[in-house]
Amino acid sequence: MGYPAPPMSTRAESAQSKRRVIITGNGPVSGFGVGMEPLWKGLCAGESAIRPITSFDPSGFISTAAAMVTPEQLDIRTIVPKNYRKATKVMARDIEIAVAAAASAVHSARLTTRGTAEGVTPTIAPQRVGCHIGAGLIPADSDELASAMLSCRDAQGGFDPGEWGRTGMANLTPLWLLKYLPNMLACHVTIIHDCQGPSNTLTCAEASGGLSIGESMRVIRRGDADACLSGGAESKVNYMGLLRQTFAHRLAPVPTGADGCAAVRPFDDAAQGTVLGEGGGILITEAFESAHARGAHAIAELVGFAARQCSCIDTVGVDLCGADEDIACAIEAALHDGAVRADEIDAIVPFGSGIPNVDAAEAKALRAIFGDRTSTIPLITLAPQIGICGAGTSALSVSVAAQCLLMQQLPARLSTVSSAQLQVDAVARSSRHHALGTILVTTTGMGGQSVALVLRRMT
C-alpha cells in the first residue's frame, strides 16, 4: 500500500530536523461541560452526556437525542472579558463553543493574554501566536429568520423576494451575516486573546479539528509561530444540522423516549448510525523549545501528522466503502512523520461513529497497519458518551488522547456489545489504568478527508 517508506535512519533524521511541537493547554467543551475536569470525570465514570433534545421539539426527526452543552454549563457572557460582552450577541452556538474552549485552553496552559488580563504583558508575544480552528456550516437561526420574513409571504404562504428586498431584510440585525461565517470562530478567538500570527479556518467536516491541529504543527515547524490555539468546534443540534445528517444517512434512529447512548454503537455488529453532540476542543500547541524556556507544563507531544483524501465511490464521501486504503495511508504517513513504528502504538482514538460503512472502512485500515494486533489495541470510542461533534470531533479526540497520556488511564467505553465482525477492541468496559506511551488519533469526515495524528507521552 502507498509509497515505500524510507529506511529508519532517514526517518530519524527527518524527525530530528523538525521543530518539536507539544501540547501545553487543553480546553475541551462537551456535553459534560466546559473544560477537562467534567469531561474526564464523565468519561471515566462511564457516563453519557447524550439526552433527549430539549432546545426544540425533535420528534419529527429520526434522532431525538444529542449530547448538548446546557446554558448552565456554558454562559458565554461570563466567559468573555467584560469589554467583549456586547460581541456575544453576534455569536452563533458554534462560536460560543469555540470561545469557551479557547478560554479553557488558555487557562489550562496558564497563559496570560489580552483575554485573561487586559493591559498586562502577555506570556507569548501576540505576533508569535497563531490560531487554527475548524468549523462547520452554521445555519441561520430559524426563529430569527422566520420572524424577519413574516411580512414577506406571497399568496400561497411562500417567500416573496420582492417584499423581502423592500422591507423584510431590514428586520435582520446589520451584523446578521457575521453570526454565521465559519471563520468567525477563529476571528473572535484571535480578537479576545490577541493572536496576530497565522490564522486559518478549516472546513472539512469531522476532520476539520485534526487538520487544524496539523496545520498548527506545520506553521510552528516552519517557524511562523511559536504557539497556536488549535482545534475545532461545532453544533449540528439544530433543524438544518439534523436534516442534513439524516439526508446523509448518518444518524441512528432514536425515537422519542429511547436511550440515545445505547443507539450509538461504534464498531458493533449491529451498529445503525451515530448520535450528534455539541462540542469541540482547543489546544495550546507550542514549540518545544519556547515552551520549555517559559517553564510551561507539557501535557503531551504531537509527533506525527498526515492528511489524505479518500477515493469516494459516491464522489461526496457519504459512502466510504473502499476508502480503507486511503485511511491506512494517512495513518502510515503520520507514523512516518513522527518516526513512530506501528508496534509502538498503545491505544487508538478512532472516529468510531457507529456509522456502519465508515466504521468498516476504519477497522479495515487499522488491520492493514496493525495486522493481528488490531483486535487487542484498546480503542477509545467517545461517540456514545459525547456524540459526534462535527468539526469539533477530531479536536476532542486529540484532547482526550492527550489527557489519557497524562493520566495513564483509559476512559470507559459504552454501548458496543459485540465487534466480532470488525475484530477490534471496542466492546463496552470500564475505565482502567493502562501504560500509555503513544496514541494514534484518526478521523475521516464526510467528504472523504482523512486525518491522522500521533501523540506521545512527555517524560
Binding site: G157, G165, L178, N183, I191, C204, Y239, Q309, Q449
Partner: protein
C-alpha cells in the same frame, strides 16, 4: 524555512497550470484580453429577482457549462454551482500542466488545498420551510412542522452539496487526487491562504503536486441580504459597470462576483522529473490576524503589513531594496482593493508601511473593478492575473478611477493597462474578520 537562495529543487514551488471561471469568461485568454480592454462583468442580477434589493446588480458568470471539460461527467451530476466552477477551473489547470499525459509520480502525492465557499442555499424551499413552520401563537418555529416540511421540500443531494468541502471532493474524484486534502474558509482571504499553505505542504515534502485555489458564489437571496445589511456592497443606481471603483474617492462598496480560480503547484524537482514547464515560481507566503474587531479592519494596517512582510521575508526580498537598474524589487501588487472606503485606504497605508518611500513606485491595481469580488475565490483569480502579468509584461488596470482620494495616493494603474517589465508580484487578500494573506510570485528562472 530555508531562505530562498538555499532552496533545493524539492523545496522550490512552481506553478505549472492555471485555470479560471469568471464573470468575464471561462478560459485564460478570454479573461486576460477582457482585463486588457478594461471590460466590466457587472450587470443586473439574473439569479433571482433582486429589483427591490438595495443592490440590484452583480458580476455573474455567464453561459458556463462544465460538462465538456469533464472526463467523468456522471460523477458530478449533482455538483452545485460552486463545485461546477471549481471543476471548470481545475480542468483547465490540469490540462495546462499536462498532467494527463505527463502523469504525476504517485496519486497519493497529489494533494488539494482549496479555499472554497459554502454551496448555494436551496433558497425557495429553505425559506418556505422556515415561514411555514412558524407558529404565530408561540412566536417561535414549530420544530415538528419544520421537520415535516423540511423533509418534504428539501433534497439530499442539494443539501450535501452545500458543505464547503464539496468542491474539494469533486476535484479529488475527477483527477484521482489522494494526497493531503484541505478546504479553508477565511472569507475573502481563503484562496490566497489555500495557495500559500499548499506551497508549505510541498516544501515540507508531504506532496509532489497540489491543486490549489478557490470557488464561490454568494449571489443568492441571503448572500446579497447579508452583505447589504453590513452595508458592504455598492448600492449605486447608475450604470452597473461603473459601480466598482476601488481607490477612487467616490467608492461606495464592493460588487459581488462569482467563479473560481485554480492553479497546479508542484515542487520544481517533480515538475522537471515529468518534463512539465514551470510558468512561475511561488517564493513567499505570509498569514496574519488583525485581532482587532469583527466589523472593522485594524486602522493602522498592522495585520495587512504583517502578512506582506512575512511573504517578503520568506521570499528573501528586502522591501526597501532596489535592483541594479534602480527599480524596486517588487514590480506589481495585486491589491485586495475591494472598493470599500475602509479597505482601500487601509491597504494603501499598509503598503506604505511595508515599502516606505518605494511604495509610490510600485504599481498596484484591483481587478475587482472589472471582475467584482469573487469572495473566497478572489485570491486565486488575482494570483493568476499576477502570473499572466509576468508572462505578458502587462499590468491590468483599476477601471472606473476618476477622482483621486487623498488617502489613496499610490499608483493604481488607472483605467488603462500598462506595459511593464514584471518579474515579481505580491497578491493580497484580506478576509472579513481580520485574516490576512499575501503570496509572492516571481518569473521562473532556473
Amino acid at each position: 524555512m530555508n531562505a530562498r537562495a538555499d532552496r533545493s529543487p524539492s523545496e522550490r514551488v512552481v506553478v505549472t497550470g492555471m485555470g479560471w471561471v469568471t464573470p468575464l469568461g471561462h478560459d485564460l485568454e478570454t479573461v486576460w484580453s477582457a482585463l486588457m480592454r478594461g471590460a466590466s462583468g457587472m450587470a443586473p442580477i439574473t439569479r433571482f429577482d433582486a429589483r427591490t434589493f438595495p443592490t440590484t446588480f452583480a458580476a455573474e458568470v455567464k453561459n458556463f457549462d462544465v460538462t465538456p471539460l469533464l472526463q467523468d461527467p456522471a460523477s458530478h451530476r449533482n455538483a452545485g454551482i460552486n463545485s461546477q466552477f471549481a471543476l471548470g477551473a481545475a480542468s483547465q489547470a490540469w490540462r495546462q500542466a499536462e498532467l494527463a499525459t505527463k502523469s504525476p509520480r504517485n496519486p497519493r502525492r497529489v494533494g488539494i488545498y482549496l479555499g472554497a465557499g459554502e454551496g448555494v442555499i436551496d433558497t425557495p424551499n429553505y425559506l418556505s420551510a422556515n415561514l411555514r413552520a412558524w407558529n404565530a401563537e408561540t412566536g417561535k418555529t414549530d420544530g415538528v412542522r419544520w421537520a415535516k416540511i423540511g423533509h418534504e421540500l428539501m433534497n439530499a443531494a442539494r443539501e450535501i452539496e452545500q458543505e464547503p468541502n464539496m468542491p474539494l471532493a469533486h476535484i479529488a474524484k475527477e483527477f484521482g487526487a489522494r494526497g493531503p486534502a484541505y478546504n479553508c474558509l477565511t472569507a475573502c482571504a481563503a484562496s490566497t491562504q489555500a495557495i500559500g499553505e499548499a506551497s508549505s505542504i510541498l516544501r515540507g515534502g508531504e506532496a509532489d503536486v497540489m491543486i490549489a485555489g478557490g470557488a464561490h458564489t454568494m449571489i443568492h437571496v441571503l448572500g446579497v441580504t447579508g452583505f447589504n445589511r453590513l452595508t458592504a456592497l455598492s448600492t449605486s443606481t447608475g450604470d452597473p459597470s461603473k459601480a466598482s471603483c476601488p481607490f477612487d474617492l467616490g467608492r461606495g462598496g464592493f460588487v459581488m462576483g462569482e467563479g473560481a480560480g485554480m492553479v497546479i503547484l508542484e515542487t520544481l524537482e517533480h515538475a522537471q522529473s515529468r518534463g512539465a514547464k514551470p510558468l512561475a515560481e511561488l517564493i513567499g507566503f505570509g498569514s496574519s490576524a488583525d485581532s482587532y474587531r469583527i466589523t472593522d479592519i485594524e486602522p493602522t494596517g498592522r495585520g495587512a503589513a504583517a502578512a506582506m512582510l512575512q511573504a517578503l521575508a520568506q521570499a528573501g526580498i528586502d522591501p526597501h531594496g532596489r535592483r541594479s537598474d534602480g527599480r524596486p524589487l517588487v514590480d506589481y501588487i495585486s491589491a485586495h482593493g475591494t472598493g470599500t472606503k475602509e479597505n482601500d485606504s487601509i491597504e494603501t497605508l499598509a503598503v506604505k508601511r511595508v515599502f516606505g518611500d518605494l511604495a509610490k513606485e510600485i504599481p498596484m491595481s484591483s481587478v475587482k473593478s472589472m471582475l467584482g469580488h469573487l469572495i473566497a475565490a478572489a485570491g486565486a483569480v488575482e494570483f493568476i492575473t499576477c502570473v499572466m502579468a509576468i508572462h505578458r509584461g502587462m499590468l491590468p488596470p483599476t477601471i472606473n478611477y476618476t477622482t483621486p482620494d487623498p488617502q489613496c495616493d499610490l499608483d493604481y494603474v488607472a483605467n488603462t493597462p500598462r506595459a511593464a517589465k514584471v518579474q515579481t508580484c505580491l497578491s493580497n487578500s484580506f478576509g472579513f474578520g481580520g485574516q490576512n494573506d499575501t503570496v509572492c510570485v516571481t518569473a521562473f528562472d532556473e
